[in-house]
């Protein structure tokens, strides 16, 4: 064991020890001694070979230490956010109510002031969801659908939040258009997420979302009187056409990578 200690100490000679280094060294030594025990159990008797073999399994200790530090930093950050989430939720709820009461009593304008409570809570929910999305995105793609559902919820929460301000505080008559707009944002956000995280077969998402979003665009533009209801409906067939163009483009792009070898004849000859 002493030889492993010496090796570790020698590798990290001169490295500033801020506590993390000690924890890393301790963990590393445990891993090395556990491996040495396993290999000894297998029947290796030559101590020198055992030492060389174990050391060879840890070829880049400085790099490994950097990764350990990064992991440690993320762990501490997650711990901080966990605390924030646990204690922040009741604090935000109480704070929203207190601010609402304070503004209400001071200005006697209770009507728009109530928006502060649901909006405050919704903003907090959006924050919690975004933290969840961040954590899940760090994991394998297998778990990403959960993050995508959370993203959709966050977008809808944001839509409701803006809708409440537009309706109760600003009294906008066309505030309802925010809901089809929210759905469009939802599709857009998911498509962006799929692109950033390089999801497989994401082109299928794009194709579905273009067609699914088109009635919402139609209702939004019609509702805002930016486009007449007739022939504004043409937006929907136009979306289908756009899908077809994208499919044709993707096929044309794929065709560039089609390999036509002489081999074809070989397989087919009979």
């Amino acid at each position: 064991m002493q030889s492993y200690v010496d090796y570790i100490e020698m590798t990290f000679q001169g490295e500033k020890d801020n506590g993390t280094l000690y924890r890393y060294k301790r963990q590393l030594l445990d891993r090395m001694t556990a491996r040495a025990a396993e290999i000894t159990h297998a029947g290796l008797r030559d101590e020198k070979v055992l030492y060389d073999l174990v050391i060879s399994e840890f070829p880049d200790l400085p790099g490994d230490y950097r990764r350990f530090c990064e992991k440690d930093r993320l762990k501490r950050r997650d711990k901080y956010f966990n605390r924030l989430m646990i204690f922040g939720t009741p604090i935000v709820a109480i704070a929203c109510v207190l601010v609402f009461l304070a503004i209400g009593f001071l200005t006697q304008r209770w009507s728009p002031a109530w928006v502060l409570v649901p909006d405050g809570i919704l903003i907090w929910v959006i924050f919690l969801l975004s933290e969840g999305i961040r954590r899940i995105t760090r994991q394998r793609q297998l778990f990403h659908p959960i993050a995508r559902v959370m993203l959709a919820l966050a977008v809808m929460c944001a839509t409701v939040c803006v809708f409440l301000i537009a309706m109760a505080a600003l009294h906008l008559p066309d505030a309802w258009v925010l809901f089809p707009f929210g759905v469009i944002c939802l599709y857009a956000a998911d498509a962006i997420y799929a692109t950033i995280t390089k999801q497989k077969m994401r082109i299928i998402n794009y194709l579905i979302y273009i067609v699914a979003a088109s009635p919402m665009v139609y209702v939004l533009l019609g509702g805002l009187r930016l486009v007449p209801w007739h022939p504004g409906w043409l937006i929907v067939p136009f979306a289908v056409l756009l899908d077809l163009i994208i499919i044709a483009g993707a096929l044309a792009n794929n065709a560039k990578y089609k390999y036509k070898p002489e081999l074809e004849d070989a397989w087919n000859e009979n």
Binding site: L44, D46, V49, L53, Y257, K258, Y259, A266, W267, N270
Partner: protein, 425 residues
């Protein structure tokens, strides 16, 4: 905490082949000196630690299978004995099957006899193919020698990814896209089979071998040169011709033999690759037997040349297999792949040269030896060929009976006769 390893695409494919063969790769090397048991143990432990898949148990999880690294003792791997009859001891050892669920995937036997050694190794094909097994043996011998002579720790074994897609890494971006778009099922079905007896529960595994001498190989090489053919072409031609004869196929029938291709040909540098499988099949087809064996040779050359000129030789069907294993749980994908995959009834694997210099232990070169593929279950057959000290060993591993043994021996006689004819001109 238990350590898991990913079951790679070829691991799963070879697992699927459990219906067709015993998935074992076999090697035997004879030396004119006594191998030191303690040194051998040390090198083996180091290599097993460097390649943890060798001491892992395969878990056929219905969703996604995986390996679990298992503890072991060297005595589970290595068997040392001084048998009276080395031949039968070696045969008995080599024809064993290691179940994939076993804790170790490679077994070694050292038979010591009158100052000589016979080293036999069997390993699960799911862990590595003949190409990497050859590398394993070379690294093993190099490490053994350096450890025994200079005391250098025997830890020089390649480590790295075992993934199938490593074969694409030396292609350009465009070539990679092209290769990954080769969604083609290349398994053209051919019902011509080797004339073995029907299956029986009394069948046992055996390895039939026939050695082609160094002199004969030299003749094959020089005759091949005259005909513009390689040794592989000549062997394949003799295989085809003998097959037509032994199975009495209609001479006008088109027959195919699947040949193993080492996909490492697409890699410039394999030094950062883990031990794995990178072998695919190409189907060599002759439209008819031809008037004589020289006509067969021309057909073989034509067929092989088509493949040789293909940039993506052997990479057809890989994306399809990957897709099959990705989109469905393992249990379902196995069933689907079985529908599309037809295992070749007649195949050949030219494993190539076993370099006696690279396989020397402390300066003692192997006097004899061979490597051979899995024991095939009837009606499938695989002819393996390895070259050591300029002599070719043809081998066929079959699960059959005495009659099958005779059939295979007769087949080897025909092979030899046909090779004689080929080299007679």
């Amino acid at each position: 905490m238990e350590r898991k390893l990913n079951a790679e695409l070829w691991d799963k494919m070879h697992y699927l082949f459990r219906d067709y063969n015993d998935r074992m790769v076999h090697v035997r090397l004879d030396y004119d000196f006594e191998i030191d048991t303690e040194t051998l143990k040390t090198v083996l432990i180091c290599f097993f630690e460097k390649a943890p898949v060798l001491h892992s148990s395969f878990h056929d999880n219905h969703v996604s299978p995986y390996w679990i690294v298992k503890p072991y003792r060297i005595d589970d791997i290595l068997e040392v004995s001084r048998p009276d009859d080395v031949e039968s001891a070696a045969d008995a050892f080599l024809t064993q099957e290691i179940p994939p669920e076993n804790d170790i995937q490679m077994k070694v036997a050292l038979f010591l006899h009158s100052g000589k050694s016979t080293l036999c190794i069997v390993e699960n094909h799911m862990c590595m193919d003949g190409g990497d097994f050859k590398y394993f043996l070379k690294a093993f011998c190099k490490n053994y020698s350096e450890y025994a002579e200079k005391g250098v720790s025997p830890i020089d074994l390649r480590e790295g990814s075992r993934s199938y897609d490593q074969v694409y890494q030396d292609f350009s971006q465009t070539e990679q896209k092209m290769a990954k778009n080769l969604y083609k099922n290349i398994n053209a079905k051919d019902d011509h089979r080797f004339p073995l007896t029907p299956d029986s529960i009394r069948d046992t595994s055996f390895i039939a071998k026939r050695k082609i001498s160094a002199e004969k190989l030299a003749q094959i090489k020089s005759s091949g040169k005259k005909h513009g053919a390689t040794v592989n072409d000549m062997l394949l031609t003799a295989y085809f011709y003998s097959l037509y004869e032994i199975a009495a196929y209609n001479p006008y029938d088109s027959v195919s033999i699947s040949c193993a291709i080492d996909l490492r040909r697409h890699l410039k540098d394999v030094s950062d690759e883990g031990l794995t499988n990178h072998t695919a099949w190409m189907q060599c087809r002759v439209p008819e037997r031809g008037q004589d064996i020289f006509a067969t040779l021309q057909y073989v050359k034509q067929s092989i040349n088509r493949f040789k000129h293909d940039k993506f030789m052997g990479l057809y069907g890989l994306p399809l297999l990957k897709l099959g294993y990705s989109i469905m749980p393992h249990a379902a994908s196995e069933e689907i792949i079985k529908i599309g995959y037809s295992n070749p009834l007649v195949a050949m694997s030219n494993i190539g040269i076993l370099d006696e210099k690279a396989l020397a232990l402390c300066g003692n070169e192997p006097t004899d030896g061979f490597m051979t593929g899995a024991v095939k279950f009837k009606p499938f057959v695989l002819l393996s060929a390895t070259t050591l000290r300029n002599a070719v060993t043809l081998s066929m591993c079959v699960r059959g009976n005495d009659e099958d043994k005779q059939i295979v021996e007769h087949f080897f006689d025909l092979m030899e006769r046909n090779l004689d004819t080929l080299t007679s001109e």
